[in-house]
Amino acid sequence: MFAGGFTGVILRVDLTTRTSSTEPMPADVARDFIGGAGVGIKYLFDEVPAGADALGPENKLIFSSGPFTGTTIPCASRMAVTGKSPLTGAVGMALTGGFFPAELKFAGYDALIIEGKAEKPTYLWIKDGAVQFRDAGWLWGTHTGDCQQLLKDDLKDQGIRVACIGPAGERQAKVACIINERRAAGRKGLGAVMGSKNLKAIAVRGSSEVGIADEAKFKAARSSMREEMRQSPVLYSAFAKLGTPMVVDLTGALGILSAKNWSETGVFVPVEQLGAESQKEVNIGRNPCHNCPVACSQIKIARTGPYEGTIAEGPEFETYYSLGTNTGVADQGAVIAADRLCDELGIDSMSAGSAVGFAMELYEKGILDSAATGGIDLRFGNAEAMLEVLRLIALREGIGELLADGVKAAAEKIGDEAGYYAMHVKGLELPAYDVRGAKAHGLNYATSYTGADHNRGYAFQEIFGIPVPWEVDRFSYDDKGKLCKWNQDVRSATCDCPTMCAFLLDTSLPATAPANTAALMEAVTGLVYTPEQIVDVGERVNNLARAFNAREGFGRPDDTLPRRLMEEPLQEGGSKGQLIAQADLDAMLDDYYTARGWDVATGKPGRAKLESLGLGYVADELEV
């Protein structure tokens, strides 16, 4: 059916009835949504009804790789996991790399759709065309590292790949993630969805190869891409050596490295303790994803202090924020230990770290007292307290029960005053970048279909100064709506759907990603696109995701930022004096909705826009 790239097969698993079936990947879905996030959101919109309980059997969990996954295209290791997010109630979509995604492809599947709920703890064992439902009672309670190893031992094959949840997912903590190897589909609480289905793990082993439609074109397109990677001024010369933690230094200098629950951005800037230079002492190796020549992911060891000897893959930049600057912990060993703990317990280090920072600020302000913390001295900078609270979050014990569902839910339980300090959009905790000093990045936090998600529309123009599609002033509001749309659509079309590591977009392909994707799509799958048609895929995905959220009741009032960012100017640092006032956010939103062709008053996609993207049935569903 497909000349290459796609296996052409979707595996559907019903945990309630313990049955599985296969169905063809529809040609129009492949053409219009490519794969990854696009395919995941397509099935989410079509199959999960409005108002579904995100932790009920009616929610689905869709694992979807892209046509590039499993090929020899560099850095195309990835897979989307999609479901309705229990943390936000909106689209939950998170991408992961490593080796599980390629293995699922080798087993013969473009996507795996998990439905229903198992009666008791279960794991899936997928070996090529065979699917088995197996008892996971003996695995229940295990950490993610142990779970993966136990399955490999039990199945007597060290080459299998496993995606699993830890104790946090089992308890349906809404900050729970899904771990494969040491990678994570980290955000939006998809680990809780897996836990709600009593699905502890998915083990997969495949023996097939991914076909290529035109070998000659493939080699030419891949060579062209490799050359662009070699020409990058940063990819191999710096990024491959330093990894994402180099952004600690960059954002610190720009004055946008958020600190102490966003109360001390530009004031507390521990670059020397957590930045690139400090990595040299702790890095002991690198661990590339499938077929990645860059290998940015680093293995680190705590060298001194109470955590000496603890090894983690990471922390990445975002974790140096969430478990470092955001909690006031300027200690490499503690952040490495906390990162490892999050991976083992299966919690998103970003949301969990944000929750700890939030609780620390409330504790220092007297809004939470020691009775609420169970006697834990939860002041900023207390590394031991941070680690203990992370453990409690995963186990839903003590103050962890309060924080396990994220800062929005916690603030609602505590009361009005706490809401001001809950740093989230649509329930998803904020990433590291203090967007008071990067306006398009902030607009993306406000409008991303998953909540405050830097990865859905990263404004590399503002953060890295890359002048594509045009040079921007990070403090200006001019045309930031148009820029945000461009970033969201290009990112979706060239990274989230095919699937491709987003770091390549920033480092090597900012100007050529749509053309690169088009060339690779033709070579790999035989499907011909213009670069503009590739970007159209991203627009289609963003509109469909927006429609899902609109059907759930989200609209313009939800496209906002925490009040702190709109009322408190940054006190110090490279973005001193900056904020995003409500009026400026409103103006950016007007520009954004206009650029998107959405109703400016409601933020809803209209019929004309949806029909132009081939989504007329979505307009019918929304009754617009």
Binding site: D249, A253, L254, E316, D506, G574
Partner: protein
């Protein structure tokens, strides 16, 4: 007058520190500061971050004045003022 010059990553070695105050004549422009820094840092700049002839800096190095790129001020001829914050940023990625 005195301006604060800050940098990160590999440029720290070239500049001789993460941040420093630099004395320049009143009316010095961004281009003038870069020339001055190039001369001052020549011994630590074997790869030629600062261009030996004609002043300036390699094109992939970002220069910000008080957080803004000079392109949104008056370009290389942007005049500096006492107390200005000048940030020199080598390429970075990730996050």
């Amino acid at each position: 007058m005195r301006v604060r010059v800050r940098t990160i990553l590999g440029l720290v070695e070239v500049l001789g520190g993460r941040e420093q105050d630099v004395e320049v004549a009143a009316g010095t422009t961004v281009a003038g500061l870069l020339t001055h820094l190039g001369e001052r840092c020549a011994a630590r700049d074997p790869s030629g971050v600062f261009r030996a002839e004609g002043g300036g800096i390699q094109p992939h190095i970002r220069v910000l004045v008080n957080g803004r790129q000079p392109a949104f001020l008056l370009g290389p001829e942007t005049e500096l003022h006492d107390g200005d914050d000048v940030l020199l940023l080598p390429p970075a990625a990730g996050g």
